[in-house]
Amino acid sequence: MMPESFMDLAGVWTAALLSLCVFSFLFKDNILFKLTEAIFVGVSVGYGIVLSWNAGLHPKVVVPLMDFIRNYHSKSRADFFWAAYMLASLGIGVLYLSRFSPRQAWLSRFPMAYLMGIGIGMSMPLTIQTSIFEQMRATLIPLVVKTNGAWDWAASLGNIVLLLGVFSVLYYFFFSVKKSDPVSQTVSRIGIAYLMLGFGASFALTVMARIALLSARMQFLKDEWMEGTLRYFNLL
């Protein structure tokens, strides 16, 4: 991909040099890596604050409240209730800032309690339905599967493996009874084997993810930085 303007080219070079500064950590910790890390944190926070203001606080709170204050004489009783609710919410939100003072930090518990109360109330029934009931329903499966009247051994085996995994892992995490007899120990060991398989899959997927990140960065350095620069100056 060729940079279309000098500013594009400058952007590509900035990104490429910062990437190389980050990679320099692989050799050893150094000032360039620390500088890049600080730039990343600063830019992310600054960008996040501006966008949160522009996308949330300004259009949802400031603009409607200013509109209410300017035209308060023509507003209905419902609008007054809305403004009072908005100001009370804003007041509760401002209490978050008390975290900066060790003596007044306890005030921040009020907005947290407010948010937790609403959040839990809204999500609890949906969480139970989504992650418990639906998942339980998905384990209520036949051990012998028949497809077009014939025994489907692959599907049957899959269901048996799934059910065995669910029961053995649940049993492994059941700590109320001492598992001293051979049957309990065997079931627990099967549960551990399932867990290890799960951890192995997670580790392999993590490797895949990290390689993907590195691969995309290398592709960027090759395509946009090296080839893009050469193309921009008509050298390729």
């Binding site: 996308a55 949802k60 997670s202 997927l205 993590t206 993810a209 390689i211 691969s215 995309a216 090759k222």
Partner: protein
């Protein structure tokens, strides 16, 4: 000499591994070899769901027409919904691009190929980001680029007519809940600042009931749960996801319970989707590097284990 070499390797083996991994990733970038990739069931599920959006919309219109013919109550409400459904006969895809630059290399190819697929089939796209303000501009550039790249062969794709990018608003769970009731209450305007009621495309879309498929591309924990709880459990909309490979193991049970129609695992998911659509792109390009690096890591793990057992034997 040999002892010196072993001592040097003991001190620098990390750097040797780094160099080998970089070579495994960098060398394939210069090669034009293309791997044969077969889409897995989870990828094919999401592909089929996007492919089936026009048919799903057609079925919804037919069902509603039949319901109207046999119902005398709620006629006005049903007629208004029928009018909305007829606005987009090829259906509507809601695409949530919930990621930031740190997971963009894995998730951008997924987002791009789903968008290209939707644009190729004439499906209207509502794009949104509900979890982080940092990814808002990145998401816009992905949507605009996909629209620009598709329009040559599949007609001009215009913002506001063929797709809408709503941008970011804070409070993601509440925001998704609001979208279920009324999208214009959650987002009064699109990312460019145009009021939603002025956009021709949004005339046919009021809430999640008017969406034929919700696709969520995310690298954040908590976001998939929020979409599943609201879009799937509460509003019963078909839901598909694309995720960073790290998160896939945690959400595969939702695929087996059929709460998700499909699940794309990282860059491989993008490559498989590209193969299903027969449109190779960034995902397919990255697979050779993945293959080389994975072979290297398997060899290194095996070598490490062999050395461990040899050392233990020598000690005993």
């Amino acid at each position: 000499m040999m002892t010196l070499l072993v001592q040097w390797f003991d001190r620098n083996y990390r750097r040797v591994i780094y160099v080998l991994v970089v070579l495994c990733v960098l060398v394939p970038a210069f090669l034009t070899v293309r791997l044969r990739i077969k889409p897995a069931g989870a990828t094919q599920g999401l592909f089929n769901a996007v492919e089936g959006i026009p048919a799903a919309r057609h079925a919804a219109i037919t069902n509603l027409e039949a319901e109207l013919a046999h119902t005398i109550t709620n006629q006005e409400k049903l007629l208004s919904r029928l009018q909305r459904l007829r606005q987009h006969t090829n259906g509507v895809l809601l695409l949530s691009l919930d990621f930031d630059p740190s997971s963009a290399p894995e998730l951008t190819p997924q987002a791009e190929i789903i968008l290209r697929h939707a644009f190729m089939r004439g499906i209207a796209v509502v794009a949104v980001i509900v979890s982080t303000p940092v990814g808002a501009q990145l998401a816009q550039s992905i949507v605009d680029r996909a629209a620009r790249e598709t329009q040559g062969r599949y007609g001009v794709k215009l913002a506001g007519r063929d797709y809408v990018y709503l941008g970011f608003r804070p409070g993601y769970f509440n925001l998704i809940m609001q979208m279920g009731e009324d999208i214009s209450r959650a987002f009064a305007s699109d990312y460019a600042g145009n009021r939603l009621e002025t956009l021709p495309m949004m005339q046919g879309i009021k809430n999640l009931h008017d969406i034929d498929l919700v696709a969520v591309i995310t690298g954040f924990v908590g976001v998939p749960e929020a979409w599943m709880q609201v879009a799937k459990t509460k509003y019963n909309r078909p839901l598909g996801m694309g995720m960073t490979a790290v998160s896939v193991a945690d959400y595969t049970p939702y695929l087996h319970s059929k709460q998700l129609v499909g699940l794309l695992p990282g860059m491989r998911g993008a490559a498989e989707y590209e193969m299903a659509l027969d449109a190779p792109g960034a995902g397919t390009r990255g697979m050779l590097a993945q293959l080389a690096s994975h072979v290297l890591i398997i060899v290194l793990i095996a070598l490490g284990n062999v050395l461990f057992f040899l050392q233990r034997r020598n000690r005993s």
